[in-house]
C-alpha cells in the first residue's frame, strides 16, 4: 500500500503528462505482482467494490478524537479524507519513560540519531527508530519485511468480499497500520474519489511504456483483461506472448483526421474524396458481438478506448446487430440534432437518471463500419466500407441510429459553399450542430492514428472577438514562472459608464515568444497582486487587447457576463489596438440568438 500511496501522492502534485507517465511506469517497474495490477486497476477505474460513505469516515474519527480539535483541523485542511488521514491517532504504544513526576531531567538530548524524538514523540519518526531496534537494517528491505501494513492486494481483495457491517472495523485496523500518506490513499480509494488527474488512457500508456509497446496494442487487448493483469505484465516484460482479446466487443484504435489548410487544396483532387458533415458531438465506437453462449455483448467506447457504456444505457438496445460502428454521439429532439451545449448535459455523469434519459435522448450518427459480424472491414477502402455501412444501417432500421449524410460536390468551390451554408447544402435544421466538413479519401483504409493525407477536417472558422486582458495567473509545471493563464473581458454598460466584464479564460493559442511578451507586459502593468493572480491594468487607454478565438457560446448563469465560451484561445496579440476599441458584450449576446 505504501508504494501505491507514494505514487498517488506524487501524481496528485505533478502537472505534466509526460512526468505522470514516468512516475506510473517507474512504479509499475518497481512494484510486484499482483500489487501493481491492482494499482493499474485503481488508476483505470477498473476496481469495483462498494465505496465507503463520508459519514462512516466521520464516525471513525469522532470515536478517536476530540471534537473541538477535529473541527478546528477539518476547518483548516478542508478535505475530510485528508484531515482524517493526518490526525488519525498513531496506534503504537507510547514509549515508556514518559514524564510521571513533576521534575524531568534537565536534558534528554545527546547521543543517538533521534534522541528527543524517540523519547517524546510517537510519530512515524519514532516508529522508524522503534523498528530499527528490532532489525539491524532499520530502513529499506528489512523494514519492509517486518512491515505490518496491508498491501494494496490485501485491501482490494478484502474489500471485494467484505460485508457492510465489517467495513468500519476493518477500515480502522488499516488506518491504524498505515502512515499519513497511506491513510490518505486508502481513504481516497475506499471512498472512490482518487481525483489525481490520471485518465485510464494515461495509465494504460504508462503500462505500455513498461514493455516499450504501442499504447494502442494495450488498448486492443484491454477489454479481455481483468485485474491484477498478470498476463499483461508478463507480455510487457517479455515473459509471455501477447494476451488474446477474447472480448466479444473489443475496441479498435480509431482513425483521426488532419486539419486542412488552404494550401493543401492545391495538391488534392476533389474526385478522390467523399465529404460529410463534421458533427459537433462526441466521437464514439459502438461495438456488438456474440459471446461464447451466443449472447450479444454491446459496448460504447470513447475515441481513446475508454468504456463509456454505462453512461448511455438508452443506446444499448439499438446495438443488437454484431458489428463495430464509428460515429458521432448526439442528442436528438424531435428528429433534430441539438448543439454540443445540450449534449454536454449527458457527459461525465456518475449516475444516469431517467429524467436525464428522457430530456436528453441520445442518438448515434454513423459514418464508418469497422466490422460487420465477424468480418473485419478495416482493410477495405473507405468507399467500400461506406457501402457496407449503408446496408448495415438500413437493415438495422433503428430510429436511434442513422447514417451521416454525404455532401455532393464536384469541386472545392462547391464544397466551400456547402461548408459556409450547411442549411441549404443538405444539413437543414441540423445545421447548428455542424462544425465543418470532413473529407475522406475514397481509397483510404481504416488506419489507426492520424495517417497523412487520408482524412481531413475542414472546420468552420472560429468566432473571433477582441477582448481586454484583465487578470493573469501563473501557470503550472514548466510555466510556473510565467503568467500564462489569462482572464479577459469585454465592455458593457456599468453604473458610471462602460466597464469591462470578464467573459472567459484562456491559457494557450500563443507562441512561446508571445508568452514571453505577455508575461513581460503583465509584470510591468500590474495594478494589484493576489498571491498567484495579478490584476493587470485595463482601462480604455491602457491595457492589452487579445484577439480571442472560440468555437461556440452558451448562456451561463454561473458567469457574471451570462455567457460561457467553448474552447477559447488567444489567436493574436493586438498591441496596435487601444482597449477602448475592444468588443462589447452585446456582440457576444447576439451570437446566442
Amino acid at each position: 500500500m505504501n508504494r501505491f500511496a507514494e505514487l498517488l501522492d506524487r501524481l496528485s502534485y505533478e502537472p505534466g503528462r509526460n512526468n505522470k507517465l514516468r512516475l506510473i511506469t517507474s512504479y509499475l517497474h518497481r512494484a510486484e505482482d499482483p500489487d501493481r495490477g491492482f494499482a493499474l486497476a485503481a488508476l483505470t477505474g477498473a476496481l469495483s467494490f462498494k465505496h465507503a460513505k463520508p459519514g462512516l469516515i466521520r464516525e471513525l474519527i469522532a470515536a478517536r478524537s476530540d471534537p473541538v480539535l477535529f473541527a478546528l483541523s477539518y476547518d483548516y485542511v478542508g478535505d475530510l479524507s485528508e484531515t482524517v488521514a493526518l490526525m488519525w491517532p498513531s496506534s503504537l504504544p507510547l514509549p515508556s519513560g514518559e514524564r510521571s513526576t513533576g521534575v524531568a531531567q534537565r536534558s534528554r538530548s545527546g547521543e543517538g540519531d533521534l534522541p528527543d524524538r524517540t523519547e517524546l514523540t510517537p510519530s512515524p519518526g519514532s516508529r522508524l527508530a522503534a523498528q530499527a531496534d528490532l532489525s539491524p537494517e532499520g530502513r529499506g528491505e528489512e523494514r519492509r519485511r517486518n512491515d505490518p501494513t496491508p498491501t494494496l492486494t490485501d485491501v482490494v481483495t478484502t474489500l471485494a468480499t467484505l460485508g457492510k457491517a465489517e467495513l468500519p472495523a476493518q477500515l480502522a485496523r488499516w488506518l491504524d497500520e498505515l502512515d499519513e500518506t497511506g491513510r490518505w490513499a486508502l481513504l481516497k480509494l475506499v471512498t472512490g474519489s482518487l481525483r489525481i488527474g490520471v485518465s485510464a488512457r494515461l495509465a494504460k500508456t504508462a503500462a505500455a511504456a513498461l514493455g516499450d509497446k504501442d499504447p494502442h496494442d494495450v488498448e486492443l487487448i484491454w477489454p479481455g483483461l481483468a485485474p491484477p493483469y498478470l498476463e499483461l505484465f508478463a507480455w510487457l516484460e517479455g515473459r509471455a506472448d501477447k494476451p488474446v482479446n477474447r472480448d466479444p466487443a473489443p475496441f479498435r484504435p480509431v482513425m483521426l483526421a488532419h486539419a486542412i489548410a488552404d494550401a493543401d487544396f492545391g495538391n488534392l483532387d476533389a474526385a478522390d474524396y467523399i465529404a460529410e458533415w463534421k458533427w459537433d458531438g462526441i466521437r464514439i465506437q459502438a461495438v456488438s458481438g456474440a459471446d461464447q453462449h451466443g449472447q450479444i455483448v454491446s459496448r460504447l467506447y470513447s475515441r481513446t478506448g475508454e468504456d463509456i457504456t454505462n453512461s448511455f444505457p438508452d443506446l444499448l438496445p439499438s446495438l443488437r446487430r454484431p458489428g463495430a460502428i464509428d460515429g458521432e454521439l448526439l442528442v436528438l429532439r424531435e428528429g433534430r440534432v441539438q448543439t454540443f451545449n445540450v449534449l454536454q448535459q449527458r457527459l461525465n455523469r456518475k449516475t444516469v437518471t431517467s429524467k436525464l434519459l428522457k430530456e436528453y435522448p441520445i442518438h448515434l450518427r454513423a459514418y464508418d463500419l469497422l466490422s460487420d459480424g465477424e468480418n473485419d472491414l478495416r482493410t477495405l477502402p473507405f468507399e467500400a466500407r461506406r457501402g457496407k455501412l449503408e446496408a448495415f444501417i438500413a437493415e438495422l432500421d433503428d430510429p436511434r441510429i442513422d447514417l451521416s449524410a454525404t455532401i455532393p460536390f464536384d469541386d472545392w468551390e462547391r464544397l466551400s459553399a456547402a461548408r459556409k451554408d450547411p442549411v441549404s447544402a443538405g444539413a437543414g435544421l441540423d445545421a447548428d450542430a455542424v462544425e465543418g466538413v470532413m473529407l475522406k479519401r475514397r481509397d483510404a483504409l481504416y488506419l489507426p492514428g492520424r495517417p497523412k493525407g487520408q482524412w481531413w477536417k475542414w472546420k468552420h472558422d472560429p468566432h473571433i472577438i477582441d477582448a481586454v486582458l484583465m487578470y493573469a495567473q501563473r501557470g503550472h509545471g514548466k510555466r510556473s514562472s510565467f503568467y500564462s493563464d489569462y482572464t479577459f473581458g469585454v465592455w458593457t454598460d456599468g453604473e458610471g459608464g462602460d466597464v469591462l466584464v470578464p467573459v472567459g479564460k484562456a491559457y494557450f493559442g500563443f507562441t512561446d515568444e508571445e508568452l514571453l511578451q505577455i508575461d513581460r507586459f503583465v509584470r510591468r502593468n500590474t495594478a494589484e497582486k493576489f498571491g498567484p493572480v495579478r490584476h493587470v491594468v485595463h482601462a480604455p487607454d491602457q491595457g492589452l487587447v487579445l484577439e480571442v478565438a472560440f468555437e461556440g457560446l452558451a448562456r451561463s448563469p454561473r458567469h457574471k457576463s451570462g455567457v460561457a465560451m467553448r474552447f477559447p484561445r488567444i489567436s493574436r496579440l493586438r498591441w496596435d489596438k487601444p482597449p477602448r476599441d475592444a468588443d462589447r458584450l452585446e456582440t457576444l449576446q447576439r451570437l446566442l440568438d
Partner: protein, 356 residues
C-alpha cells in the same frame, strides 16, 4: 546570587513577563524578549528576522544569534551586544536568565526567566526532532511554559525528515534530465536539508541561490560540515540537469527559475503536510521537513516541562489551549503579533488573500 527581595516573593507569573505591544516584557528584569519594535534592552531567542530585529539599544543573545544579526543587518544593528552561552546564568535586574538549546536553528535558545522561585521558560521557536546543524532541544522544567503553536493542530505530524530526503533523491533519480529546485528558508532549513542529504550519502555538489550563500557559509564556518556547495549563478542551464539547488521559497516560482532545465519545484516545510497549501504554491514535490515542533512534539514537550501553566503564542493557539485545558493545565493564548515563519509566511499570506 543575592537574596530575593521580599517584595518579589509571591509574584504572579504575569508580574514577571507580560505581553505588550513591543513583545514579551520583563519588567523586573528591564528587558523584552524578541521585541518586534526597537526597545532599550532586548533578549533574543534566535536569528530569524521575525524574532531578531535591528534597532535595539542592547541585545543579549547567543554568540551565533548575534553573528546572524550582524550578517543580516550589518555591524551596527544594535547599540551594544552581549553574548551568552547555553546554561550560563545571568542576573538582569531582579531576575535570573539562562539560555537553553531550542533545537530550532543554529544558536537558537529557550530563555528561562526565574524570579522569586517562579521559573518561566520562553521557548521561542523550537523542535524536538533530529537536526545535525544545531544543538538538540533541551527540556527545561518550569512553572510556566511559553510555547509557540506554528503547527498547533493535530493534523501536523512531520514524520521522519530522512524519509522526505529519500523522496527528493528518488525524484532526482527518476528525472535525471531535470533540475530539482528546493524552496527552503535561508536560515536553518537550507543548512539542515543539506546536512540531511549528506547524512544519507548524497555527495554531489549542492547549488545555492545567492541569498543563501552568506548564512550557509557562516554555518560551515561554525563547523557544520555541508560538503561541496556551489553558487548557482553563472552555471550553464544544461549543467544543472540532475542537480539539486536550494533557494528561498519566494524564488522558486519566479523568473529566476528559467535558468533551470524543466525544474521540479520542491518545498521543504511543515506546511507541506497539507495538500492545499502545497498546491496553492504550485509545489510539485512537497517535502514535510520542519524546524518547528509538530503537534505531537508540542504536546509531549508541554507535558514534559511539568509546567502547570502554559502560554501559547504565534500559530494555532486555539487548538493548543484547548488541549492544555483538557489536560488540566491552565492555558491562555498570548496575543503577540508579528511572528511567523520567516520569508515563507508573507508569500503564504498573500496567496491566501487571493483564495479568500
Amino acid at each position: 546570587m543575592s537574596p530575593t527581595p521580599a517584595y518579589i516573593t509571591g509574584m504572579r507569573p504575569q508580574d514577571i513577563l507580560l505581553p505588550v505591544a513591543a513583545g514579551l516584557c520583563c519588567k523586573p528584569g528591564g528587558f523584552h524578549i524578541d521585541p518586534v519594535r526597537p526597545v532599550e534592552r532586548a533578549v533574543i531567542t534566535h536569528g530569524h528576522s521575525d524574532h531578531a530585529r535591528p534597532g535595539h539599544g542592547a541585545v543579549l543573545a547567543t554568540h551565533e544569534t548575534l553573528d546572524m544579526m550582524r550578517l543580516r543587518y550589518g555591524e551596527n544593528f544594535a547599540g551594544s551586544t552581549q553574548a551568552i552561552r547555553y546554561g550560563e546564568e545571568l542576573r538582569l535586574g531582579d531576575v535570573t536568565v539562562t539560555f537553553h538549546p531550542a533545537g530550532h536553528v543554529l544558536g537558537s535558545a529557550q530563555i528561562a526567566v526565574s524570579c522569586g522561585g517562579t521559573c518561566i521558560v520562553a521557548s521561542g521557536d523550537y523542535k524536538d526532532a533530529h537536526d545535525p546543524t544545531c544543538t538538540p532541544f533541551e527540556l527545561v522544567p518550569c512553572d510556566v511554559f511559553i510555547t509557540e503553536a506554528t503547527f498547533g493542530l493535530p493534523v501536523f505530524r512531520h514524520g521522519d525528515a530522512a524519509g522526505e530526503v529519500d523522496k527528493l533523491l528518488a525524484s532526482v533519480k527518476l528525472f535525471p534530465e531535470r533540475a530539482h529546485l528546493v524552496g527552503a528558508y535561508s536560515l536553518g532549513k537550507a543548512q539542515r536539508l543539506i546536512a540531511l542529504l549528506r547524512e544519507v550519502g548524497y555527495d554531489a555538489p549542492i547549488y545555492l541561490h545567492g541569498a543563501m550563500e552568506k548564512i550557509t557559509n557562516y554555518y560551515v564556518g561554525r563547523g557544520v560540515p555541508l560538503g561541496e556547495l556551489r553558487a548557482v549563478k553563472g552555471v550553464k542551464k544544461a549543467d544543472l540537469a540532475g542537480t539539486i539547488t536550494l533557494a528561498p521559497p519566494s524564488a522558486t516560482s519566479d523568473i529566476w527559475t528559467r535558468r533551470f532545465p524543466d525544474p521540479v519545484t520542491a518545498f521543504a516545510s511543515g506546511w507541506m503536510r497539507v495538500r492545499a497549501r502545497a498546491r496553492q504554491r504550485g509545489v510539485e514535490l512537497p517535502l514535510v521537513i520542519s524546524d518547528h515542533a509538530d503537534w505531537d512534539g508540542l504536546t509531549k514537550t508541554i507535558k514534559a516541562t511539568g509546567a502547570g501553566e502554559v502560554w501559547v503564542t504565534h500559530g494555532q493557539e486555539d487548538a493548543l489551549v484547548h488541549w492544555c485545558t483538557a489536560q488540566g493545565l491552565r492555558a491562555r493564548p498570548l496575543d503577540l503579533v508579528g511572528y511567523g515563519d520567516e520569508d515563507g509566511d508573507a508569500a503564504l499570506a498573500s496567496s491566501e488573500a487571493a483564495e479568500a
